[in-house]
């Protein structure tokens, strides 16, 4: 219920807010605001010095007006004045105003820093808290310069109150993030590490956050925190529910602190000291065990808190990647979550399992869930959950299940959201290439991709299929036959015409013996699509035609007629015109030998980094686990046999 609380009333503020809410129109609101602004302006300029209460009230009104979305260009001085009040309520409003409406006026900054300095030195924990929070909220360079030296001292001083330590730790964290050069490591770092043993779990929480950030840039400096963090975590996880009274949340002991400690441990490799390592392993076992116990409460808060710790523990297990038994247990636990009632858990399980898939210890365990994941792909109603399922299928893919996974992904592609189609196309293309034992399967897969999602098949993908066909004698005939058949479809995607045109131009001779795919039939088929295609495709087709002239002398007159037609020779597009003119000339003047030399079969492409992989990485961002490429150590049966196909990213002029 709306309460105008006892301590600081500010009736005027409440009335003003009510007035604004009662305004029937935007214009009325603006009018009321302007009236108030004029009133406040005159009060601030007035001869009589305002008392603290009034100043506080007006500054608060200005803040409210600002938060409604209106610009405020005065009041900063008055807000800064409030900082020097010795009344908490006045200070609080002053600090709030300057934190929200940050001003870069150097005089104001000087005054603010001065007020902060006084409050920090005041030994009044409430005032120190306000000052520290202001620095943490604003975090400007000037504040860092003024206070970065002071805060660590406050943090580690023996007589600092707990709540002040909490705020100081996080304040220091903010300054470090914004201006790391102003927070050099020093004597204070080892004392900060010891805060992990503090009695007050709020202090430990704040210290853990600070150490985690500092440790990333200064791991050596903070490595002693590992054993302390393990002890602390161990004590929390094994505590009875009556131990941590204030910090037990729905029967889960200190869940957020547990998560933070687990995160801190992820900054380091597995502990070297066997005792510490053993204790940590026990701890993780306990967390996994607790997840199997019947819940102490039916409330979702209980299971969320418990599972928050569980998922973070699993993250740590994956990060260490050194205990096969823990990895397999984690996998089994996640496997159970895959079929949980709650969408959140299914989502998180799919996401977490993706990282598990790249560990050699758990890869096989992950694969056992393939049917569940495929089912998720088909039945989940939240598209982001289906996306995680796709990611997981991609990550768990290897020689043993590639055909099945590619088939499922192709099937999903037919109904997938447009926003994610391109990514799925790239993944299917990568998998098909990587795990092809039989390259006819690879060719079929790519042609299927084009058929199902042609618009999302980027150049990298169809260039690649052509490169592979060119590099592999064993699949050239099959490719020619298959594209020929695919082109028969009444409406085929332009990318298919490009691929088909190129392949028939190179290898049409391999199927020309069959009367159903005689040279003239091949030409007619391609040419029937000509007028539907864009300029680059037509250019490609013209090149295919001149190759036909070389391959099949009997179709030369037909092709020459086409090249000779006005629509080619006088085509508005320079490239098409040039090709038509030059190819026509070539076909007329060149001897068969010269023609054969000029239009010789394309040589194999050299090996280079896959451009499809590069494109996927670019799309997903550098932090994506692409499973196949990063972190996967392939062993034994999973080794990808066969030569690495040539992935040239050269711009071949097709």
């Amino acid at each position: 219920m709306p309460a105008v609380s006892k301590g600081d009333g500010m009736r005027g503020l409440a009335v003003f807010i009510s007035d604004i809410r009662n305004c029937k129109s935007k214009e009325a609101e603006i009018k009321r605001i302007n009236k108030e602004l004029a009133n406040i302006r005159s009060k601030f300029k007035g001869d009589k010095a305002l008392d603290g209460y009034s100043k506080k009230k007006y500054v608060c009104k200005l803040l409210f007006i600002f938060l409604l979305g209106h610009d405020i260009d005065f009041g900063h001085m008055e807000a800064v004045n409030l900082l020097s009040s010795n009344r908490y309520t006045e200070k609080q409003i002053g600090y709030l105003f300057i934190s929200v409406l940050v001003n870069s006026n150097s005089e104001l900054i000087r005054l603010i820093n001065n007020a902060i300095k006084n409050d920090l030195a005041s030994r009044n924990p409430t005032f120190m808290g306000l000052a520290l929070h202001c620095i943490a909220n604003v975090g400007s360079r000037e504040m860092a310069e003024a206070f970065a030296g002071e805060i660590p001292k406050i943090l580690v001083a023996g007589d600092t109150m707990d709540s002040v330590k909490q705020s100081a730790a996080l304040c220091l964290l903010r300054l470090y993030r914004a201006s790391p050069d102003l927070v050099p490591m020093g004597d204070w770092t080892s004392r900060v590490v010891h805060l992990l043993n503090d009695q007050h779990l709020g202090v430990v929480t704040a210290a853990t956050s600070l150490i985690t950030t500092l440790a990333q840039k200064n791991p050596e400096e903070f490595k002693t925190s590992v054993s302390l963090a393990v002890s602390r975590l161990s004590r929390i996880v094994t505590s009875a529910s009556t131990d941590l009274q204030d910090y037990t949340y729905y029967f889960v002991p200190a869940p957020w602190l547990s998560v933070k400690l687990l995160r801190l441990l992820q900054c380091y490799p597995p502990p070297e000291d066997p005792a510490v390592r053993g204790r940590l392993a026990e701890c993780l076992e306990t967390v996994l065990n607790k997840a199997q116990e019947p819940p102490k409460s039916k409330k979702v808060q209980h299971s969320n808190a418990r599972n928050a710790v569980l998922f973070e523990a699993i993250s740590l297990i994956i990060h260490h990647d050194s205990e096969p038994n823990l990895l397999v247990r984690a996998c089994n636990q996640l496997g159970q979550f895959l079929q949980h009632r709650e969408t959140n858990l299914r989502y998180l399980a799919l996401e977490s399992m993706c990282t598990l898939a790249s560990s050699e210890f758990s890869h096989e365990a992950v694969k056992t869930h393939i049917e569940t994941v495929i089912n998720a792909l088909k039945t989940e109603r939240d598209v982001s959950v289906r996306q995680r399922a796709v990611d997981l299928l991609y990550a768990m893919c290897d020689r043993s299940n590639a055909q099945q996974i590619v088939a499922e992904m192709l099937s999903y592609l037919e109904t997938a959201d447009y926003a994610i189609r391109e990514e799925i196309v790239l993944k299917v293309a990568i998998l098909a290439e990587k795990y092809a034992v039989d390259y006819t399967w690879y060719v079929d897969t790519i042609l299927n991709l084009i058929r199902v999602a042609g618009d999302y098949v980027s150049e990298e993908v169809w260039y690649r299929v052509i490169q592979i066909v060119i590099n592999r004698d064993d699949v050239q005939g099959y490719a020619a036959k298959t594209v020929f058949e695919a082109l028969q479809a009444p409406a085929c995607h332009e990318n298919l015409v490009k691929v088909g045109g190129y392949i028939l131009g190179e290898f049409g001779n391999l199927i020309a013996g069959d009367p159903r795919s005689s040279p003239l039939t091949q030409f007619d088929l391609l040419h029937s699509k000509f007028h539907l295609c864009s300029v680059p495709t037509r250019a490609l087709l013209l090149s295919a035609y001149i190759k036909f002239v070389n391959l099949f002398p009997e179709v030369k007159p037909t092709i020459q007629d086409v090249l000779r037609s006005d629509s080619q020779l006088k085509n508005a597009d320079v490239e098409l015109q040039q090709r038509a003119v030059e190819y026509l000339r070539l076909s007329s003047v060149a001897s068969t030998d010269i023609l054969a030399t000029v239009l010789e079969e394309m040589p194999p492409f050299p090996e280079r980094e896959s451009s499809i992989l590069a494109k996927l990485k670019k799309k997903k961002g550098p932090s994506t686990v692409t499973g196949l490429e990063e972190g996967r150590r392939e062993r034994g049966a999973d080794v990808n046999g066969g030569p690495e196909p040539a992935p040239a990213s050269a711009t071949v002029c097709l």
Binding site: A3, A14, I93, H133, L170, C171, R174, G202, V259, R263
Partner: protein, 144 residues
């Protein structure tokens, strides 16, 4: 580095009841973010998760009556931990304002910042004990 980028409380109509920023944005960017967040969370329902990808981050959110509580965190952050951090925060507000409603957040907006700052600071969780937070808030309430 991983931390909270912002916390928002919005109503269904898109009015912001609290915006706490832990990263520098200018006013136009803030407005744009607010609108985007609103657009993204209000189309979701019970069949969706409480997590949604948002630019290079993610938003953990929960709806309480007419209000959406949204925390924007890094993609690598712990979803459930923040989902419950929201709930913890809401329970504190509820206790502090005695069955909190949207109007409480409007009329006492300057106090809501105090509650936030007790529980979150510098983009990190600061204090999770409801007992301790409420004790502190009541103490501050008694000051002049």
């Amino acid at each position: 580095m991983v931390w909270i980028r912002f916390i928002l409380i919005q109503n269904r109509a898109g009015k912001t009841r609290l915006a706490k920023w832990y990263m520098q944005f200018d006013d136009d960017e803030k407005q744009k973010l607010i609108e985007e967040v609103h657009a993204v969370v209000t189309v979701r329902d019970a069949k969706h998760t409480n997590f949604v990808e948002f630019r290079n981050f993610k938003i953990i959110y929960r709806r309480y009556a007419g209000l959406y509580f949204c925390i924007c965190v890094d993609v690598n952050d712990n979803n459930l931990a923040y989902l419950e951090a929201i709930h913890n925060f809401v329970e504190v507000l509820n206790e502090y304002f005695h069955n909190v409603c949207e109007l409480d957040l409007v009329f006492n907006f300057y106090k809501v910042y105090t509650v936030v700052d007790e529980m979150f600071l510098a983009g990190e969780i600061r204090e999770t004990s409801q007992t301790k937070v409420l004790k502190q808030l009541l103490m501050l309430q008694s000051l002049e």
